[in-house]
Amino acid sequence: MEYVTGAFAVAGAALIALAGLGVVRLGDLYARMHAATKASTLGIGLVAVAGALGIDGGAAAVLLAAVLIFVTAPSAAHLIGRAAYRAEGIDVHLQGHDDLRQLFDPSDDADS
């Protein structure tokens, strides 16, 4: 049982570390956010499972914390993403398709 708990904790911590590495290594803001939101959310989930298995009587509180992370992490990412699109001078590295542009440029068919 200890080994199972340990395996969850190590796997979760490794994912969080990789997410942090991604924030350093990837080139632009949105790619970094992809790394930070997805990998660290699953990582925290795994650490929470380890906590629930390993902490006597604390399982419900730890799992509640994990649920709150799952609900709030995407909302935080959403706000950062919105702000980054509006701010000037941030490299968002958009080279493909962009449907959002027309919302900010009224001359470009805004009411479609």
Partner: protein, 174 residues
């Protein structure tokens, strides 16, 4: 009925925080839930709807996608690829309540290659950042699948009717 569900939810969170079911905890939780539900009646997202089996299906699909997307992130971090095709696309939703739209937006952020950046009403549209926009239709299909599963689990009758409004073959052009 709606209020009873909310009292039950608040009580569940309260008990989880204490990590102990005792008479004192249940009574204090009920008192707190009563104050919150009666005193701060700000729930404006329509009725709470939950179809348990459909919800489990949504949760299972969501967990599967979360693992997939984490794997994709790990691969990208270890060996960064060219990112010359990142972009943003508009994805319309039909007749979802605010709560269900929030759930879908959250799920998109935690699934492979996509990130919700912006939400607009009238028409209800999510703007999704994608790491690879070479195949727009496949991204739309993935989002559509999440929408269908979420609405079937938590949507009201109007939202379920909205599912029939279009499918991927007749996608409304942004």
């Amino acid at each position: 009925m709606n209020r009873l569900v909310r009292v039950a939810l608040i009580l569940a969170v309260w008990l989880a925080l204490w990590s102990e079911v005792s008479v004192a905890n249940v009574l204090s939780g009920l008192a707190l839930a009563g104050v919150i539900v009666l005193g701060f009646d700000t729930w404006s997202h329509g009725p709470l709807i939950l179809r348990p089996l459909r919800a489990v299906r949504f949760a299972a699909f969501f967990a599967y996608l979360l693992v997939l997307s984490t794997w994709a992130v790990v691969r990208t971090v270890v060996a960064p690829r060219d990112r010359v095709h990142t972009g943003i696309l508009a994805v319309p939703l039909h007749g979802c309540s605010d709560a269900v739209a929030t759930l879908i937006a959250d799920a998109i952020t935690l699934t492979p290659g996509t990130l919700t950046l912006e939400v607009r009403r009238e028409p209800l549209t999510l703007y999704v950042h994608a790491l690879d926009t070479r195949d727009l239709d496949s991204i739309r299909r993935d989002v559509r699948r999440l929408e269908v599963l979420a609405v079937r689990a938590f949507g009201d009758a109007g939202a379920i009717e909205g599912l029939a409004v279009d499918d991927t073959t007749a996608w409304r052009q942004p």
